[in-house]
Symmetry: C2
Subunit: 204 residues, 2 copies
Amino acid sequence: MSENKKGLLFVLSGPSGAGKGTVMKELLKSEPMELSISATTRAPRAEDKEGETYFFKTREEFERMIENNELFEYAQFSGNYYGTPKQYVIDRINAGKNVMLEIEVQGALQVKSAVPEAVLIFLTPYTVSELRSRLEGRGSETAEQIDRRIKRAMEEIEYISAYDYIVINDKIEETVDKLKNIISSEKAKAVNNRNIIKKFKGEC
Amino acid sequence: MSENKKGLLFVLSGPSGAGKGTVMKELLKSEPMELSISATTRAPRAEDKEGETYFFKTREEFERMIENNELFEYAQFSGNYYGTPKQYVIDRINAGKNVMLEIEVQGALQVKSAVPEAVLIFLTPYTVSELRSRLEGRGSETAEQIDRRIKRAMEEIEYISAYDYIVINDKIEETVDKLKNIISSEKAKAVNNRNIIKKFKGEC
């Protein structure tokens, strides 16, 4: 509506195996929004680019970011830190960009408590047995690892009431359409359009 | 998601001349939702059908409905009562239908206070001068009547913060798309999908 309007913050989250990565990749093909870039202490791989795939940090640097409250959320996986730097996200939103975070459920809840206006979207298959099929279909994990993921998903699903939207990821095209609808209607929310009164009256 | 899931209540409102009627007509061509039927004390016209265009009531019957709290909202225009009967809307929603009310701003605010989960959509042209052009384009009212409507619109626009969504009615096709997005994303809201936890766990 206005040139200097702020962007919105969306968080796509849900159990491991729900298809978050695939969905985001498809969504970004047609939706003008930015995917947030995480900070991590894991070693860069050949395909990694600093500031594009990740912000690479030493353990010491990362822990300083934690201490200075510079992260929206963080967690450790396999001995490495992963987190979402606040400043990058805030800068993009102030520049009028809609930003999407694609993060784990616990991280999403941390973001919501830090930024109540963040729009949380829970992506999930319809049933836990579908989730199991997906995880097994990947063929990249042991039965024991899959069991652990399923157990965690059963815990995570309990948190959906803290989310704004639930999207069942059945057919990828339909899922992307649902996300685009959510983004579009969030832009139409009254709280995001307070400038309309002045515009209507011709005062700006 | 579930056979016995309740429908949602939407309220389309906004200043006279915003194009609510035209937009609703277009929307209903492709969106499976029901338009609520108002009760009125005005005399039936040739094209009217009881229970389709309106529920026709005597003044006495209508005032009894007011006393018995059987209306979500009501108002008087040109000496006739118009209102939204609760029972009809509740029955349709319980039958799983999404229901749309197309009513005046004051009525919409009454509905929101009676039914906080109702989704209020404010439809408006972008500026008051556009609204004036539309009203003048209709050619059905005197300059004085138009001035009165403009004055009222300037008051009504102040209430948009009580609404959930603002939709600028510029191009009709885009407006209808925006409404469809809102309806679709409201269906994806977490509060409207509490049964998903049980479904996910295979408990129902």
